[in-house]
Assembly symmetry: D2
Homo-oligomer: 335 residues x 4
């Protein structure tokens, strides 16, 4: 019987060989925690990539990255504007409530899980400026969004302008930042815009256990280092995490991995036509299809998640075989 063709998620894919090599290369003892030689190189490496100064902290998960970044911007009595379907609201088990000591998520609408200044204003303008209501302290956007859609630089700029006008921090959840950046042409600075902090994803893009919090407002990093330790996220052999991140960024591996995943998604999307629920811009396809159609696809060896009653979610990864993507494309066309 043939191997199943996996489109469940990118979050359990194999680790890229270059990252294995990079981890093995730092196996000799070095200073513990983030005192090692590789951790020391992260600020410069990311700074070069983004074309501006930044302070970089590794952590093991995107949830930790998001929450530590937000904790740098939001007081416990404040709130974070995010999309109603944002990962921090829907899928992090209440981690923002824990890390932000009870601060509140203020939920906004928005097509394809993307926010706009209008949608943000619709949430924050009705908040009375008094102590009875939780005031917004920050905005969090997701690049690419939970539906695989990408913010254009001018869209981020408009949100950043609003954030600045209202005195709010701006955070970007970039669990799939690489895929978004690849879609936009590969310029990291364009894809991040003027955010204060970015959760830079690596695990979904061929990493094993490392994500980066990139503070462009570098003053936020100091307290974040204390908070990381306090959250049990300062690993003593941090060099293995740093090595993963450095291997990702040093030869643009992050972009080539993302391009591979995006290309596979495009291959599949090209056959989907009217079935697409959202534009396919990164590596996720949300496909209208009946329960019977899903059965057909699964019988043909494709694995994926249902998305509600009448849809499927298909996710490609850095290592999705071209023939699997092609086969799925054909199978969808044949439905």
């Amino acid at each position: 019987m043939s191997t199943p063709m996996q489109f469940l998620s990118d979050n359990a894919a194999s680790v890229h060989p270059k990252l294995w090599d990079a981890m093995r290369a730092v196996d000799a003892p070095d200073a513990p925690y983030d005192g090692d030689a590789v951790s020391a190189r992260l600020d410069a490496a990311f700074g070069e990539m983004f074309g501006r100064e930044c302070a970089v902290l590794w952590v093991a998960t995107g949830t930790a990255a998001n929450c530590l970044a937000l904790a740098s911007m939001v007081q416990p009595h404040g709130g974070v504007v995010c999309h109603r379907e944002a990962h921090i609201e829907m899928d992090e088990g209440g981690a923002p409530g824990f890390y932000l000591h009870g601060a509140k998520l203020l939920l906004a609408e928005g097509e394809s899980a993307k926010l706009t200044p209008d949608n943000i204003r619709a949430v924050i303008d009705p908040i009375r400026d008094d102590v009875h209501q939780v005031q917004p302290h920050a905005i969090s956007i997701t690049q690419a969004s939970e539906y695989g859609c990408v913010y254009q630089p001018q869209e981020i700029a408009a949100i950043a302008a609003l954030a600045k006008e209202r005195g709010l921090g701006l955070h970007m959840d970039g669990a799939r930042f690489a895929n978004a950046c690849a879609f936009l042409g590969g310029c990291a600075a364009d894809a991040a815009g003027a955010v204060d902090a970015l959760s830079f994803g690596c695990v979904k893009n061929g990493g094993m256990s490392a994500e980066a919090i990139v503070f462009f407002d570098t003053g936020m990093a100091e307290a974040a280092r204390y908070r990381r330790k306090r959250a049990g996220h300062l690993q003593s052999k941090g060099r293995y995490l740093a090595a993963q991140l450095l291997a990702m960024v040093e030869d643009d591996l992050w972009l080539s991995n993302a391009r591979a995943a995006n290309n596979a998604a495009q291959e599949i999307a090209s056959a989907a036509g009217e079935r697409l629920m959202h534009p396919v811009q990164a590596n996720e396809i949300f496909l209208r299809c009946t329960s019977e159609e899903r059965d057909v696809l699964r019988s043909a060896g494709f694995e994926f998640y249902d998305w509600g009653i009448d849809a499927a979610r298909l996710v490609t990864a850095w290592n999705t075989p071209q023939d699997h993507a092609l086969a799925l494309s054909k199978a969808i066309a044949a439905l």
Copy 2:
């Protein structure tokens, strides 16, 4: 110039080859988080090792393990009795305050950083049973202690009896549990005794990024799984952590690694005589020596930490070369 001989800590040592192999062996995609085949085997593997039912959760750090275990026993308005020099008090950046939502550490005395029932009673008996004072909810002991000393089974039993009598949870910080267990003869059940939860260390014993929380009170595990996610410690590629733990326990690698480290420590201790500040029972040596004597040792190529003004801390690891230990032993004898 010769390579330095490293006795700084066991917390940055290389990863054991068998763990690399185990991680590579699970590189093929599997279910994310802790739904994979390896994570599924942990309860049984640890259950066999301890001779009783248990529920096992992997996390990346000892701090996370300790705090998640304690959060299962302690309400936010309660307290944890621990030694004044316990890791949770001295070296976790206030993580217990974070994870336990402000619960308090109640500090006890005790020789070589070990607690006794008397020392625990000296802390909890004066606490008035009223709402103005924080009531104890749990006790946390460290096996081996911060000074490398080991609780004998009957010592644990006496503390467990007190915990039971007073209705307190009992947690064991086992960052160096393997070293303690090796000293006691290798029976895991003896070394853990009747604790409710154990933080089973792996990183200091040849691991990369995995520690186990072993709940013997298995009912505690359910909430702990939610709390782990909420703390950002549920890694999506958890199989790499599970693989490390399984490789450690399946062929008693944890014990052979610990024995190697303990043997190296004994080699060094054998030369130290009156200089020893604490019995050497695990893999740490606390050595009385002047600043000048430390200079002599460092000139000879040995690396280690000062311990206050008149002492040094020397730590061996699973891979401390025998000739390094021997050389250090001789150098100490020659002081």
Copy 3:
């Protein structure tokens, strides 16, 4: 110029003379905190009123009462189902996030700010039973609701049955419980139903600074006493709070005060016809009226809050003068 006629809120009204008397009557020193003779009588007094055993704690505010009650039912990693416009969501400055250590409010729809089993199920049924999503631990309903509407006993019973079926705690925010109870005929047990804990309002009903948390699940009270102290809500001269509560309940003053307020509201509502946005069942009237119409009313000496663009909120109190209510009734009729 004539005194304004005040319909802004019941939350700043004068204190009832009997409460002044009751406070003066306990001015002689007694045991501090809740060790005094009056505090000791609360359990019995409320127990008699509700016809079942209960444990009663005084606190200074409804926010503290609600949050301490909920903290007895909800773990930090859990959630509370409440109406989208509930006071705990809209008007408590994020207090639930603070008291519940980051637990989440899960927002449900419902006419006139009342929940139904269907509306609750619509929120909790889609929650996946996994650690990535915050699980419900409790339900909170408001009697009377934020729109002055009252749950009938059978409506509470249906919600209580759902709570029991799903293993959820059930809390009632009774800031205006007296008004609801008066509407229902005056039986406290009917108005509370099978909730586990009730925030029994006194301040809006002629009190100065005391609300009661009534735990019908008396086992919840012990931890709540610790939490009350920990929140700085255990006043040393608690006898003045206890005296207020006791004076309220001992001669059914709470009901006569509420009836007076309800009657004034009915007087006003009788003239409002189609303008009423919600049935008037307690002491709040939500009135459709234009900005110009509001100006007319204000010119005539009536004070009240705008409610959005096209409405006004009018609140009566225990001491609303009959002639004021009558005057307002006529003024509305004349619009």
Copy 4:
């Protein structure tokens, strides 16, 4: 049988008649929360008293005052240096852990429960400046101390200089600030010195239910207002609290009440000689006496608390009858 003569505590004494009058005087409805006319006068009244600008918030308890003040200075990952026997450590049920989201109390020694710069340095100097150890963010001192001893202005100045040098906030718990100030001659500015925030006690000095948080660093007040609401301490009829505070300060009632209590304490102390464990400077006497001697005093009608095995604590209040103090003085002399 004669009335007992009460020296248990000042925390349950009767309310001063002027405060009753002041509360009655604000019984007419006014704006809710702290929008009323009396609350609006507090900043100016306290500003005049202290001779410098300040922002004043009322709360119901000293615990709330202390914790809200500290929350303005201390991040959740930081710590507060206080005396080992400070109220915030010993008697607030862990409230600092709750309000500061798990920040730590760093315990210092000091005679008569007073801190000195040396004692503070002994705590903070050994703290390594790294993320593994909780860093101090503030210092909290108690005026008068838990043993009724008073900081001289130059002693506060020395601590304030250290706080400034190390970038730490400085808080003063003034539950008995009036007594300390009376001892020092009645100048509020002298008794407070250069602290950033003061918990100004009123309840123990003839108040019913109001304490003031006085922010001399007025920038701290804004977040504190949100935190007060979030803690359930924003009472809707706040005017009754404001009235108590204003009545206290406007005619120096606070000082005359404190002088009365202090005088009574001096009367008693004058007879105690070598029995005094601490200098009597405010309104507390700690008296060495055997169990048998305590029985003698109690048989004579005096009520007070034991203080450990061989001592008694005697507290006077604003309304301690002169003849009671005299009688106690004679009884002690006769022991």
